[in-house]
Amino acid sequence: MVKYLVLFIFFMFSQSFGTVFDHPLKDIDSLNKTMYDPDVISGKFIQTRYISSLDVTLKSEGEFAIDKKSGLMWRNTKPVSNVTVIQNGTICIFANGKQSNISSSDNAAIKEILNVINSIFTRDYNGISKYFQLYFQSGKEFTLGLKTKDSVISSVIQNMVVKGSKYIEQIEFSDRNNDRTTINFSEIKEYAPKISCSE
């Protein structure tokens, strides 16, 4: 009897807390209307990345800024100090006083992967939907699930879950190598410093 009770409770629990991937999104426009979508945003982040092949978790923290017009800036402060800027298809890395630029403009495959990542961070849902099946659950907080539908993109990112209330507060994603990354955002402001590769 106890066994059946436990099973019943487990069943009820799983129904109540089913994953976002049980809720496919039917209309992207409704998502665009529902989600708060400021043009500029900045704040702090803590990123943990579990690397399955080495069974190690890398933790880093720093600041980020996103401007839909000028790009994405990612400033690591711990454990290493460096800045990555993605702007117009170019990745600029500033580390130890040196800058190295990698242009992806001629390499369409890499550019496309960057576009996907950029679309996620800048919440370009129409762009995202080209590569992912979208799932959505909302209440007081929202959860957006993304499953890749493209074989090439899936070799880099497989599933992604974005959570938040007014702003995005957490992004989790996994790749084909079973590496998992979780980024938690805090102290979010609707302001962004100038984002430029020439800084």
Binding site: Q47, R49, I51, S52, S53, L54, D55, V56, T57, L58, S60, L72, W74, N76, P79, V80, N82, T84, I86, I91, I93, A95, N96, K98, S100, I102, S104, D106, N107, A108, A109, I110, K111, E112, I113, L114, I117, N118, F121, K130, Y131, K149, D150, S151, V152, I153, S155, V156, I171, D175, N177, D179, T181, I183
Partner: protein, 771 residues
């Protein structure tokens, strides 16, 4: 009476022999397949100085000749892909075998992933050589902690992201297309274009019939796809598309012009000879001559070239002379044999001079010119024999409704004007002519660029531009062939060339290049890369592990992986097996060498300096253009040679004054045509000079008929005028075609035929001949 009987018997023997000859030719012809070639390049001699280079040209040509690039433009990838798949399903049900490539099932980097420590970008290799390890480790940490880190292989296998960097910076992988939803797509101007490559079997492009079937199927598939997906855009490009459009539009254009010409010719002939019987009888030797010439070319050369037919049909203009002279004279004379006797010398001299003219072309060494000469000589001989042997059997004087008076009156008024013109200040007029013509000729420009022979329609040019923009392919006609003792040696030689090319790119001589060693380094280089990588790895892995918290087990795993890569090398075969790299097949000639394509070349001459014993610079367009320029000079020399031979013949036949005056008209006409081209800015090419040969032949014909029949010009002059009019109406109209080759021919004849006729009247006036 007995003598006449003997002549008649001999004549029937000739008829019998002609019929036997025609029957034999027809039987041999029918037992062989008819073949008409459209490939201009096939009719030119080999441009390369050795067989290997020729094979390279063929390899590069074959790889581009049969490829059709199709883009499906839509608002999103799914629709674009669906339209492409539908199109593909339609053409695979057709009658033509196509090799169709569209789907990409796996990321292309999977092929490279096992060799990541052997593959270093030039930038990373330089940093490793300089032992600038900190920069590489810092870069790896930045990528590792960045959210945009695109780890395409497990971190343990590529902790310093060498492979990601290699893929990112490899010049060969620079392409507008990327794999998405298992197809190659490119985003351009707000649309998504999926790419479908269709390869036609070798030879289809040059077989008008098969190409027509293949392109018909593709066009039908395009129409059906557009019907089902009305919002998409389908863009087809590639050499077969151009060939098809050129041949179909040329056929249409030449068809219209020919129909108009034929109507005008018939009208002119009907005015002169109001008899359908006569008109048909005139066309009989001409058509049979063209047919026999076509059969003979097919038998001797195994195939006839389309340009042979275009140029060769000029024999219509020459053979019509023989027919008209017979008909005009027959009306006047009571007997067939008397008519033959009357015209025999003039027609025979005309035939000999034409044969002298065309025979010179056979010495050019160019297959096309040999074919044209053979076609024309065979056709002329047959037309001559038909007139001399068949005509006497059919024409009776009482059925001939020839009215030479009308033509004679027209020609008389023109001739009188020339007589008046020749009476006063002829010397001053001659000097004036020399000065004006000389000025025009000094202004003459030449252009032998083979690329100018074809100008695509605005629609096709736009389609090519769209493909170039979408695919980011801006290839130049210049390329290098790299040879070597084996595959490894080829790659080493290619890497040597690439150092020069990289230097040239930095100087702006070209914008880039495509070489297979950009993706597959030589084993020698892979070994060096591996050593550089392991040295770096040994030095930096502990540092990376310390900064990231990777424990000793992790270090061991990474160490094991790098050690397992020793002695494993990426080969060209590995890469060519991947469908994604199909396009690279054109860069590799199995067992022979490799091809390095160039992009955005600004200084072709500078590239030639990179040649050595194993590296050959090649530029098909400039090679062919130089060759055509060489042939232009050669043919000009032969024109002078033929003209000299004809002049000597004329002097021997007619004496100094009359011989010179008989031969002068084509020379004056040619000089005037060249002067007009000089003044009007028409750049002359090889094909204009070929047309000058025809002016020489036509002009000598007209003058010979005038001179030979000086004492009975009434009928001869009418025949010459009618012949000139019909030839002008037949060939002058080609000046209005859009295909450069026929346009060059037409324009030269449009000016040359009336001029040579007028100059023959002028020379006749100076000689004191009167109608």
């Amino acid at each position: 009476m007995r003598q006449k009987s003997v002549v008649l018997n001999r004549h029937f023997l000739y008829v019998f022999l002609l019929l036997i000859f025609t029957a034999i030719i027809t039987i041999i012809f029918l037992s062989n397949p008819i073949s008409v070639k459209t490939d201009l390049l096939a009719m030119l001699p080999a441009t390369s100085d050795n067989d290997l280079k020729q094979r390279v040209f063929n390899h590069v040509s074959i790889n581009s000749m049969g490829r059709i690039n199709i883009l499906f433009g839509a608002d999103d990838t799914a629709l674009s892909k669906e339209a492409g798949l539908y199109f593909k399903s339609l053409i695979t049900q057709g009658n033509v075998n196509y090799e169709v490539e569209q789907t990409i099932d796996e990321p292309f980097w999977n092929t490279l992933a096992s060799y990541n420590y052997n593959l270093l970008s030039d930038r990373y290799r330089l940093l490793l050589e300089k032992k600038n390890y900190d920069e590489l480790t810092d870069s790896a940490l930045s990528i590792l902690y960045s959210p945009v880190n695109a780890a395409i292989v497990p971190f343990a296998k590529d902790p310093f992201f060498f492979l990601s960097n290699y893929i990112m910076e490899s010049g060969l992988l620079k392409s507008g297309f990327h794999p998405e939803q298992s197809v190659l797509v490119s985003a351009y101007n707000g649309k998504i274009y999926s790419f479908l490559s269709v390869n036609l079997e070798q030879g289809v492009t040059f077989s008008p019939k098969t190409l027509s079937v293949a392109m018909g199927e593709l066009e039908q598939a395009k129409a059906m796809t557009l019907e089902r997906f009305p919002d998409i855009l389908i863009n087809m490009t590639g050499i077969p598309v151009h060939t098809y459009h050129v041949s179909s539009s040329s056929v249409k254009e030449v068809g219209i012009i020919s129909a108009v010409s034929l109507l005008l010719v018939l009208a002119a002939m009907f005015l002169a000879m109001p008899s359908l019987y006569l008109i048909l009888a005139t066309f009989f030797p001409i058509l049979s001559a063209v047919f026999v010439a076509f059969m003979s070319v097919n038998i001797v050369f195994k195939e006839a070239h389309i340009l042979t037919l275009v140029f060769g049909t000029s024999l219509i203009g020459l053979s019509v002379d023989y027919c008209l002279h017979y008909v005009m004279e027959r009306r006047e004379l009571k007997d067939s044999y008397e008519t033959l006797k009357q015209i025999k010398i003039a027609v025979t001299i005309s035939l000999i001079t034409s044969i002298i003219g065309f025979a010179a072309l056979t010495m050019s060494g160019m297959p096309l010119l040999k074919q044209i000469a053979f076609f024309s000589i065979t056709g002329l001989l047959y037309a001559y024999m038909t007139v001399m042997i068949i005509y006497p059997l059919f024409f009776k004087r009482d059925i001939l409704k020839v009215s030479p008076d009308k033509l004679r009156n027209i020609e008389k008024s023109v001739a009188d004007a020339f007589v008046a013109f020749s009476k006063k200040y002829i010397f001053i007029k001659a000097i004036l002519f020399v000065v004006i013509a000389g000025t025009g000729i000094l202004m003459l420009k030449s252009d032998d660029g083979i690329q100018h022979l074809y100008r695509p329609s605005p629609t096709l040019a736009e389609a090519e531009k769209l493909f170039s923009d979408v695919s980011k392919q801006k290839l130049s006609p210049a390329f290098f062939f790299v040879s070597g003792t084996d595959d490894e040696n080829v790659l080493i030689n290619e890497e040597k060339l690439r150092k020069n090319l990289d230097n040239a790119v930095s100087k702006g001589i070209l914008t880039g290049y495509k070489a297979i060693s950009q993706l597959v380094p030589s084993i020698q280089k892979q070994k060096e890369n591996y050593i550089l990588s392991t040295e770096f790895f040994g030095s930096e892995i502990t540092k990376l592990a310390g900064l990231t918290g990777i424990n000793d087990t992790g270090i061991t795993i990474m160490n094991e992986y790098i050690m397992s890569g020793e002695g494993k090398y990426l080969t060209v075969d590995d890469v060519l097996k991947n469908k994604h790299f199909d396009i690279l097949k054109s860069l590799w000639i199995e067992g022979q060498g490799s091809v390095v394509l160039t992009e955005g070349v600004n200084d072709y001459a500078a590239l030639m300096n990179f040649q050595d014993n194993d590296i050959y610079y090649m530029n098909k367009i400039s090679d062919l253009s130089d060759m055509l320029a060489g042939y232009r000079y050669k043919v000009t020399f032969m024109l002078l040679l033929s003209y000299t031979a004809i002049l000597v013949f004329m002097l021997a036949r007619y004496g100094l004054r009359n011989g010179a005056m008989t031969a002068v008209s084509p020379g004056l006409a040619i000089l005037t045509v060249l002067a007009v081209f000089g003044f009007t800015g028409v750049s002359i090419s090889f094909f204009h000079v070929i047309a000058l040969f025809l002016i020489l032949c036509f002009g000598i014909d007209y003058s010979v008929f005038h001179t030979e029949n000086a004492n009975r010009l009434k009928y001869s002059a009418a025949a010459v005028m009618l012949s000139c009019t019909t030839t002008f109406l037949s060939f002058g109209m080609l000046a209005f075609t859009s295909f450069e080759v026929t346009k060059s021919l037409g324009l030269t004849l449009f000016l040359g035929i009336p001029l040579v006729y007028m100059f023959s009247l002028l020379s006749k006036a100076i000689m004191g001949m009167k109608l």
